[in-house]
Every structure is written in structure tokens, then in C-alpha cells.
């Protein structure tokens, strides 16, 4: 579909009138509770005003009343599709604040869990994106594969979605004896499935028609708004915190950083944002393979502090969450409770740039653009 200039309709002799259309809060393609106030001229979007806050739970206020380890289960509930990574970021911030050295085995397990979580999260993003646009089969295929990963998490820590697995200084459990074998089997089965997904959806003619050249995000706009993660990489900037601000054990592994190239349309369109995620899943598989082959032995709970009482100070730590830069800004006043915990949620920033992407496109494209930026409302509203 093409981007329409609003001026063209204004010049014609037909009289048009602008109107306001509400999309949401209850709408299947808003991926949660989000209200979009669309200002439209006929079918063309003039402006979009997002209204958020329907899932606001005052996470940051809760944190101030709790001890540091008690916060971990709450971080799970922010980005509920990538809980492992939320814990990862929080634990990392606390370890840097308290200067805790984490055993190497813990680092490796965290990387494996983080990358499995990235694949699971991307599978939901890709599957629901297909469903948004009208292809229902890929949705079922993606969820079938995601189920395997959730099973791996379940045998590791007992929970499928909200784990409380990564603790400050360590992990709650070591790996299950079957974990390595099952993960290897999963990788072996999953590679052909990615090819299948490409045939089903990525290179499907109708899908390309709906997504190529739609919702283009120029790179300067993306940086100025602070957009990160796959959405930024789809616009063509090779920027990945795993490489550019290394943390944990990522520097030990070999992997590529896929960027959008405008293969089907312009660089930074919906198709690019979609396809970067497909490529990222394969890179994650590479990391997991290397990590399980070289994982060292050791105790996963030896560095867990008995009493978490960080010194006075403040720290900003960020990790590459499946959706972009997840930052934790923690201020400690030297007591058992934090004085301030602020979460810089990647989807919060992405949502901000959303009106820019929609201007000049059709109402039907709003659904395609919203699916392609992959937001989680639990994280936006916190």
C-alpha cells in the first residue's frame, strides 16, 4: 500500500471532513489494553493520539516498599512475554551496584535462558503479526514451537511464564539433567521450522503487499526518539547492546547482528521490522548452541548474598531485551529498600514514535504498523 499525501485530497473538489475514530481499549489487534484516538480524513490517518495507562499497577511505588530480592517477581510481570530478560536486567543492575562476581556457569545459563526467551518472545510477535494481518496458520505454528521453549523453562524452574528464576548473584535452581538434551533436540527441530515460516508468511505475496513500504521509520527519527532493539535495527543501524555495551557472557560467543535492508520495499518498513526478528531467532540459536557446548561446571547459588544491602549510590544498567533497551535506574540510600527504581521500558519509547509511523497511511495499515513494532502493554504501563 502507498503513503498518501493529505494535501492531494484537500486540493480536490470533493468536500471532506475530518473525524475522530476510537480504536480500543478493547480491540484484538492492540495487543493489550491500548486506546488509539485516530484523526482521519476519509480513510487516511492525519494523526494518532495513543492513550496508555490502562494497565498501570504502580510498579515503581511498590518497589519502594519492598526489599531488593522481593522485587524480582514484580519485574516478571512487566514484559510478560520476556520475563526471563526482565529478571536478567534487574539482577545485573543489582550485581553491578553491589559489586558481586557471578560464577561463570550462572552467566552461561543466563545467556541460554535469555536467548531462549528471545526466540519465544519473537515467536509470539511474528505469530500474532500474521494473525493481525489475516494469516492464521503461522500463528498456530509459532505457538507450537514456543510451547517447546516454555516446557524447557518449566522443567528448569517450575513456571511457564513468570519465573522468579534469575536471582541477585545467582539462580534459583541449577539446570534439569534433561535440559541440555531437550534443548539440542529443540534446536534441531526448530531450524527447519524457521524455513517453513519463511515459506508460509515471510515471502507470501499477500503478506508482502500488506507490509512492504508501510510505516517507514527513518533512522534519524528512530535515534531522536530513542527507539531501540529490532525496530532500530530494521531501520538500518547496527546497534545491539549485547555487542555495543557488553554484559554477562555475550562477548564469548560468535553471532551476527541482522539489520533491515529494504529487501521488499524501503528500509525500515513493516516487512523489515518483521524480517529482522526472523533472522534474530536464527542468531539466538547460534548463541545457545555455542553456550550449551561450552558450559562450565559450578555452583549456581554460591554468590547469592544472604542479606541484600547495597551501599549508597545510583546506577543505570541496560540490557538488550527482545523489544530493545531495557534499563533499570536504581537509587539506593543504603537501607534494605530502594529509594527509587525507574524502568526504562523499550515499548514505552516505541509507542511514542507510533503516530509518526501512521501519518498518511490507511486505517487498515494502523493494525499492520502496530503489530510490526511489537509492543507489550504490561511494560508500557508498568
Amino acid at each position: 500500500m502507498t503513503q498518501y499525501s493529505i494535501q492531494n485530497t484537500k486540493d480536490s473538489k470533493l468536500k471532506t471532513e475530518e473525524m475522530v475514530l476510537n480504536m480500543g481499549p478493547q480491540h484484538p489487534s492492540t495487543h493489550g489494553v491500548l486506546r488509539l484516538e485516530l484523526q482521519i480524513d476519509g480513510e487516511i490517518i492525519i494523526d494518532v493520539v495513543p492513550h496508555i495507562g490502562y494497565l498501570h499497577r504502580c510498579f515503581e511505588k511498590h518497589c519502594e516498599a519492598m526489599t531488593y530480592p522481593q522485587i524480582i517477581p514484580y519485574t516478571d510481570r512487566m514484559d510478560y512475554l520476556a520475563s526471563m530478560y526482565n529478571e536478567f536486567g534487574y539482577a545485573l543492575a543489582m550485581e553491578r551496584l553491589m559489586k558481586i562476581e557471578v560464577p561463570e556457569r550462572v552467566e552461561y545459563i543466563r545467556v541460554i535462558m535469555g536467548e531462549l526467551q528471545r526466540i519465544a518472545s519473537h515467536l509470539v510477535a511474528l505469530g500474532t503479526y500474521g494473525a493481525d494481518i489475516g494469516a492464521f496458520t503461522p500463528f498456530l505454528f509459532c505457538f507450537r514451537d514456543r510451547e517447546r521453549i516454555l516446557h524447557l523453562f518449566e522443567i528448569t524452574c517450575g513456571a511457564r511464564l513468570l519465573y522468579n528464576y534469575i536471582w541477585i548473584g545467582g539462580l534459583s535452581h541449577d539446570l534439569h539433567p534433561d535440559f541440555i538434551r531437550l534443548t539440542k533436540e529443540f534446536i534441531k527441530d526448530f531450524r527447519p521450522n524457521v524455513k517453513e515460516l519463511n515459506e508460509l508468511l515471510s515471502y507470501n505475496r499477500i503478506f508482502i503487499e500488506r507490509t512492504a513500504n508501510v510505516g517507514i521509520l527513518p533512522i534519524e527519527t528512530a535515534i531522536n526518539y530513542g527507539v531501540t532493539g529490532p525496530n532500530l535495527r530494521a531501520s538500518g543501524l547496527k546497534w545491539d547492546l549485547r555487542r555495543d555495551d557488553p554484559y554477562s557472557a555475550y562477548h564469548k560467543f560468535d553471532y551476527e547482528i541482522p539489520v533491515g535492508s529494504g529487501e521488499k520495499g524501503k528500509t525500515g518498513d513493516c516487512w523489515d521490522r518483521y524480517y529482522v526478528r526472523v533472522l534474530e531467532m536464527e542468531e539466538s540459536l547460534k548463541i545457545i548452541e555455542q553456550a550449551i557446548d561450552t558450559i562450565p561446571d559450578g555452583d549456581v547459588s554460591s554468590a547469592i548474598p544472604k542479606r541484600v544491602k547495597p551501599p549508597e549510590g545510583q546506577i543505570y544498567t541496560r540490557v538488550e531485551n527482545p523489544r530493545g533497551e531495557l534499563g533499570y535506574f536504581i537509587i539506593s540510600d543504603g537501607s534494605l529498600n530502594p529509594a527509587r527504581v525507574k524502568v526504562r521500558a523499550p515499548s514505552f519509547v516505541t509507542m511514542q514514535v507510533f503516530p509518526e509511523l501512521c501519518k498518511g497511511f490507511m486505517v487498515a495499515d494502523v493494525v499492520a504498523i502496530l503489530g510490526s513494532v511489537d509492543i507489550v502493554l504490561g511494560e508500557i504501563d508498568r
Binding site: I52, H56, E60, N224, G226, V349
Partner: protein, 176 residues
């Protein structure tokens, strides 16, 4: 790549008394304290200077310093008088790969800070959140409304340390 100290000296030369101090006492990350009504010009300079190029705002967070005098009423609820509210800015350059933290503080009774939306559009919602949670007024902000709390929330700013729950919200008892 420049260290916080080099950037501090450069800013001090250009802006003089608007740049207040450089804090480096550990384990604090080094940050530069600046004047709340000059922050917009400083940020524009930081963004555009060829040796700095801070093109991205990673994070902006409001903070209640809770450093005023604390008064307890007969119910045991605390009110804070005086002191400051602060805003932290975490900047980053994607081209030169360096980072910087700025801090600015304003009086609790009149918390006014100039907006940095001119430098980074992404600051818009972060500033709205800081307003929503702490009541920090961002001067010249294009659209300063509540963002996470309901638009009709009249019971103060929830993340302030002396925030008190209202007894009723739209006829519902709080906490119920």
C-alpha cells in the same frame, strides 16, 4: 570518546555558573549537576557539538530526594516541607559511543524544569511521566498531561514520598 570530567570542563567553560558541579564519589556513577532553567540550552549543545554528539536520550527519570523537613500529623502520616525534586538524564552517543548522566534539582514547592523535547523528541513521554508521578512542571513542554494515571486524578502525585491515598475515588473507597 570523552570522560565525564572532560565534558564537565568543556561545559563549564561554555556555560559558567549554570553548570554546578561534577559528582564522582563512589559507587555513584559520575554525574553533572546543572541548573534547571538552563538544561535545554545545555542539552542542545551536547547534542550538536561535533565532539560530543549525544544524539540519543536513553532515559529520563524524576526522583523525590526527600531532603526537606518531615512533619508528622496526628494520624502518623508524613508531610515533607522544603527540599528538592530532581530529574536525571541519561544520554548516549550512538556515533561516538560515550555516555553521560545529568542531574538537575528544583524546589519542591515550585518544581520547574525546562523541557528538553527540543533536543530529543523521545523526552516527551518521559517528561509527562515525571510530571504525572512527581508533579515536576516542564516549562515549554508541548503537551504536559498525565500519562499513566487517570486524566481526572486530583489527589496528588503518587511517587512523592509523602503521597497519601485519597479516601474515595469516584465513589469507590480506597483502599477497598
Amino acid at each position: 570518546m570523552k570522560t565525564a570530567e572532560e565534558i564537565f570542563n568543556q561545559l563549564k567553560e561554555k556555560f559558567g555558573s549554570s553548570i554546578i558541579e561534577l559528582k564522582t564519589d563512589k559507587p555513584v556513577e559520575p554525574f553533572i549537576v546543572v541548573h534547571p532553567l538552563e538544561i535545554d540550552k545545555i542539552c542542545l549543545f551536547l547534542r550538536d557539538d561535533k565532539e560530543l554528539l549525544f544524539d540519543s536520550l536513553m532515559n529520563l527519570s524524576g526522583v523525590d530526594d526527600a531532603n526537606g523537613t518531615k512533619v508528622k500529623d496526628d494520624k502518623g502520616l508524613e508531610t515533607i516541607n522544603g527540599g528538592t525534586l530532581s530529574v536525571y538524564y541519561h544520554l548516549e552517543s550512538t556515533k561516538l559511543r560515550h555516555k553521560l548522566t545529568l542531574k538537575t534539582s528544583a524546589d519542591r514547592e515550585k518544581p520547574e524544569v525546562v523541557t528538553v523535547t527540543e533536543s530529543w523528541k523521545g523526552a516527551d513521554w518521559h517528561e509527562r511521566e515525571a510530571y504525572d508521578m512527581y508533579g515536576i512542571i516542564f516549562l515549554n513542554h508541548p503537551d504536559l498531561r498525565r500519562i499513566l494515571m487517570p486524566y481526572d486524578w486530583e489527589y496528588g502525585f503518587p511517587l512523592r514520598k509523602d503521597y497519601k491515598n485519597p479516601e474515595f475515588y469516584q465513589g469507590m473507597k480506597v483502599p477497598y
